[in-house]
Amino acid sequence: MSNINRINKDLFRQRGKLVSIILGFHILAIVLMMLYKKVFKVTDPTSLTGGVLIAIITGIVLLVISVIYVFDSSKYRLIPISSNGLYFSNILSAFFAIIYLLVGEAIIYFGANAIFPNPYDQMMIRDFNVNQYWFQIKLVIAFILGIMLILVGSVVIRLLVSLIGDLLPIKKQTFATVILTLIVIWAVMVPFNVITANTLILLGVQEVTTSFSSIVRMLNMSLFILVAWNVVLTFLNLYLLNRWSEATR
């Protein structure tokens, strides 16, 4: 077994465990909520969408922490694997964890709705269930790419904060690091917003109307921009990781 496969196995197992715990807690929360409603005879319908949203946000936050932790920890940085290998293993395992989380949440959502139907969610499912399959697939892809961008972008910010922090006389002062992080986030967001906005204008966003074909075109543009940013930030991460980054734990 190659070294990349060895670390992949460990990271996949670890992230699988993390997502399983989130899904498990979500199921438990739904069961407890329904039990509560039954015991106390609450008849008001309760939407399950909020729970799904909370579970997905929790999953994303924990995955971001977990991805960053791999680059910070000497536990992983000591393994005889190239920085590129470590990066792609880390991001790929996070990607599959996101897919697992989304599929798991979809199963929980539809399953829970089948067992405990409520008008709000049924309306939402009906609205989404129009015959625009290609559009729906694109929407899901855009959502996944957006989450990947959050992951990759968080790594950029962490590596930049670490690099700049090493150049400044601030050592490991928490307050100074928080301020530095906020400055770096702002410094990264400014060019990100300017470039994204200008690219959308170049691609013809001003011609977009409320018609379905216009919405599809907007979605296509978003997909293109998401892919482009993911690629650009991946290259930046690889450069920072190979040249400047070091384990801090």
């Binding site: 460990d10 536990k75 940085r77 005889p80």
Partner: protein, 237 residues
């Protein structure tokens, strides 16, 4: 004796401070080297730079004629403080992790060392005493079959019985052609093990000398010699 580790013009700066300045060092195989220096001298940083955990900005490190980080990591086993593992992690899970990610990790060797050091695999990290944790770190580091072992302050905060066990395990499980670099500021503990010493002083390698030559030339033990160097009582040749 062939050259295993070569460090050329290595300088390391962090937070506007120079931690290591123009380090030049050459170490052959089959030796036990003491890396000596006071607290904050840069011993741990030097070990982390050799192991590829810290990034080299100025200078070159070569291990077994290889300069690429990935190749160096294959040949170096650093005694990690295991901070990356959660406090609830079982020893057996850590052993599984090592076995999974290090192709050169020998389970057979680990079990021999663990048995000798009385390590219980069913225990969790949080329940281990400082001494047992130190033993575990050594067992995991030595169970890899590499050319260079970097043991960073292996006796720090450990009781005398555990220290003796750790020292004897280092002697027992060291292969003839591998080199072990042990850093410490408590020189007495490791003096009996050493072939050579490297003294880090004023951010650089002050001196590298064989223990034999110290005894022959100065009629001093390693500890007395080290103290005299730090007090400025001996000229640097």
């Amino acid at each position: 004796m062939t050259e295993l580790l070569k460090i050329t013009n290595l300088t390391y700066k962090k937070n506007y401070k120079t931690i290591l300045d123009n380090i030049n060092l050459s170490i052959g195989n089959g030796k036990i080297i003491g890396l000596l220096g006071e607290n904050g001298a840069g011993k741990t940083t030097l070990m982390r730079l050799i192991a590829g955990v810290n990034s080299i900005k100025e200078g070159v490190i070569t291990v077994d004629d290889k300069t690429k980080k990935i190749d160096i990591k294959k040949n170096v086993s650093l005694s990690d403080e295991l901070g990356g593992f959660g406090r609830n992690t079982k020893v057996s899970e850590m052993v599984d992790f090592y076995q999974n990610v290090y192709p050169d990790f020998s389970m057979e060797k680990y079990q021999e060392i663990a048995q000798y050091l009385d390590l219980d695999e069913s225990k969790r990290l949080s329940s281990l005493s400082t001494g047992t944790l130190g033993k575990l770190v050594i067992a995991l580091a030595l169970a890899r079959n590499t050319k260079l072992y970097l043991l960073d302050e292996p006796m720090s905060g450990i009781d005398s019985m555990s220290r003796k066990k750790i020292i004897s395990s280092i002697i027992r499980w060291k292969s003839d052609d591998s080199t072990i670099i042990i850093s410490d500021h408590y020189v007495t503990e490791i003096a009996s093990l050493l072939d050579d010493i490297v003294i880090i002083k004023d951010k650089t390698v002050y001196e590298m000398r064989s223990v034999e030559s110290i005894q022959e030339k100065y009629h001093l033990g390693v500890e007395e010699y080290y103290e005299k160097v730090y007090e400025g009582g001996l000229p640097n040749e």
